[in-house]
């Protein structure tokens, strides 16, 4: 269940990134509200996930998976280049998350 909460929290955190991008420096009120609401919901689901995860472990997974999601969406939807340096960072995060899971920390 904690993984589901963390996944939902990450979706909202990625939504924050997209909404903030469309908010035109927060001159656009609709996207600004979407940004803040997503941020609040993401925080709420993060807190649900942290009921089970260690705070340090859960927070690190949450913020890094959101980073991976933002980078991948940027490449898939917004035509940003996915270079080897970004790929290496993504790989390190995936290996680290799997390692934490297999070692019983998450």
């Amino acid at each position: 269940m904690q993984w589901l909460y963390l996944a939902i929290a990450d979706i909202f955190e990625i939504a924050v990134a997209i909404a903030a991008g469309k908010a035109e420096g927060f001159k656009n009120r609709k996207w600004t509200i979407a940004t803040l609401v997503s941020g609040a919901l993401g925080t709420f689901f993060l807190s649900k996930a942290l009921l089970t995860f260690n705070v340090g472990v859960g927070y690190a997974i949450w913020t890094s998976v959101a980073g991976v999601g933002i980078t991948l969406l940027g490449a898939l939807l917004f035509g940003q280049r996915l270079n080897w340096r970004k790929a290496l960072g993504i790989l390190a995060i995936i290996v680290g998350v799997v390692g934490l899971q297999l070692s019983g920390a998450a």
Partner: protein
């Protein structure tokens, strides 16, 4: 000291402060127990606003991807180190190693997300928007 030097030092100090606030955010969100404990929940909201405000101020002068990487790194490393102090939790050596890899990974990823200004100016705004999402949120919180 020149004005530029002082401004730069202040920006980095503010960035470090933003990182400390982010640690406070992570710990208090955990301590809120799913927002069922009032005091921790209120502290979490305060840290949420403080971290965004400080980050936005720092990123006026510090490069967005560098600033974001430093901020995220301090937040994640601080939460990992202080989690066991505030809560009844611990990691063994192997687990700490995997956690360290994740933190290095996210800092690396943020640094790699620097816009390629010279090569493709059309791409730049989107890249910057992605990495600066919470920074931009901060600017709104400030207003």
């Amino acid at each position: 000291m020149s004005d530029t030097g002082r401004t730069s030092a202040n920006s980095w100090l503010t960035l470090l402060l933003a990182g400390v606030f982010e640690i406070g955010y992570a710990l208090s969100v955990g301590g809120s127990h799913g927002f069922t404990r009032l005091t921790w929940s209120l502290v979490a909201v305060v840290f949420f606003l403080l971290t965004l405000w400080a980050l936005s101020v720092a990123l006026r002068t510090i490069d967005v991807s560098i600033g974001y990487a430093v901020w995220a790194g301090i937040g994640a490393a601080g939460a990992a180190l202080l989690g066991p102090v505030f809560f009844d939790e611990s990691l063994n050596g192997v687990q700490a190693l995997w956690l360290g890899l994740i933190i290095v990974g996210v800092v690396w990823l943020k640094l790699a997300d620097r816009p390629e200004k010279a090569q493709d100016p059309v791409e730049t705004p989107l890249v910057a928007q992605g990495t600066a999402a919470r920074a931009q949120e901060a600017q709104v919180a400030e207003r």
